[in-house]
Symmetry: C2
Subunit: 219 residues, 2 copies
Amino acid sequence: MLSFVEENYLKAIYHLSLNGKQEVSTNALAEEMRTTPASVSDMIKKLSQKSVVSYKKYQGVNISEDGRRLALHVIRKHRLWEVFLVEKLNFTWDQVHEVAEQLEHIKSPLLIQRLDEFLGHPKYDPHGDPIPDEHGNLIEKHRQPLDALSIGDQGVMTAVDDSSSSFLKYLDKMEIGIGSNIKVIDFIEFDGSMDIKVDDDKTLTVSSTVAQNILVAID
Amino acid sequence: MLSFVEENYLKAIYHLSLNGKQEVSTNALAEEMRTTPASVSDMIKKLSQKSVVSYKKYQGVNISEDGRRLALHVIRKHRLWEVFLVEKLNFTWDQVHEVAEQLEHIKSPLLIQRLDEFLGHPKYDPHGDPIPDEHGNLIEKHRQPLDALSIGDQGVMTAVDDSSSSFLKYLDKMEIGIGSNIKVIDFIEFDGSMDIKVDDDKTLTVSSTVAQNILVAID
DNA sequence: ATTAATATTTAGTTTAGTCTAAAAAAAATA
DNA sequence: TATTTTTTTTAGACTAAACTAAATATTAAT
Ligand SMILES: [Mn+2]
Ligand SMILES: [Mn+2]
Ligand SMILES: [Mn+2]
Ligand SMILES: [Mn+2]
């Protein structure tokens, strides 16, 4: 049985080993966890002891199959709770993450099974992230950062890469959300900003940073 | 801000100061918390520091007004979650307590406000216990242990005094629950057991222990 | 009012998780 | 290759919450 601190480390290791590939460095993990490399060194020894990661000194850490399963279980709970908060309790998508960080650590298989049923077995959370099933399988929808598209390309927004409240509120104000149709009208070399047309309606300019964090599917 | 361990101590102190009146002894608290008197001694110093209890050495501990408010807030959350689990997730009344023990420590004012709305501002939990409002006010329904009634008396079951799974499952099997009409047919001096008629229908015998834990309202 | 029994507190450890400072290894650079 | 820089680990301390054993205070009993 993992403590909730251990669960959080494992989640971070899982996320980092997706982006950065395989081994996760002590420093990267320390940054992600907002703690010190010394603390991380201690913790990965514990996690290694529990065989949820494998670890050789100075070689970074690799998540194990067991670890991956556990991480995905916590992520499943996190995302199901986010759906619950939005669908049933009328939270906005920028209000759910903090609360889900707490709820994801509740231990009760029955609770999650019933919550999943209650929500109608949702496949995606409010930010467009896929919800792993009880076996850890997830259907990753095609997703590409908006700033990778060229002028004339268009796609449907499927997710955000940044779930910070400030970014999500900005999108709300611009009336951009999951499902919006986005077409690239112009690309400004100078600063990487883009002119886009949303839902064949309004045209607006978004910064390079914004474009990087909007994920779209091109069909 | 209290840790979840401190919240549990405070809840226990609150409960004990209702039954046993005012001061709570170190030993009673240790037993309730399933820990040692030494640990309790340490903890009540901490709670006293945070002014949620008042405490003079060897004199037991008294909950403060602040402490009472905090305890009732945790109890409010516990009971609202129990209602949610039964009403929305189809848990049985004997399955909810353990999970609610975890959920009651989630910190989010918005969550509780919305949950309360979602549930339609329930006044009682699945065990018949009153749910404090956001200010800590609660409407204690009239409740009296069944074994205090005399032959011929009757009342409506309003709550249980023991929320253990085994007791609740027994009641389910006997088809006795909150709202059942119970009439005392006979009282056996020898062991304190009772013959009762439930809902003017079936007659059955319950032990003294069972009778103590069924709470009824006489009108 | 002493003495005995019980309740409570203190002292000293333990474990989980964190930190800073220092040592050691690995990687980068000259 | 030798040196410098960066990364990682170790050492030593700290806090929260627990425990056992010992000391002390309170209460009960003679
Ligand atoms: Mn989230
Ligand atoms: Mn999400
Ligand atoms: Mn309960
Ligand atoms: Mn209850």
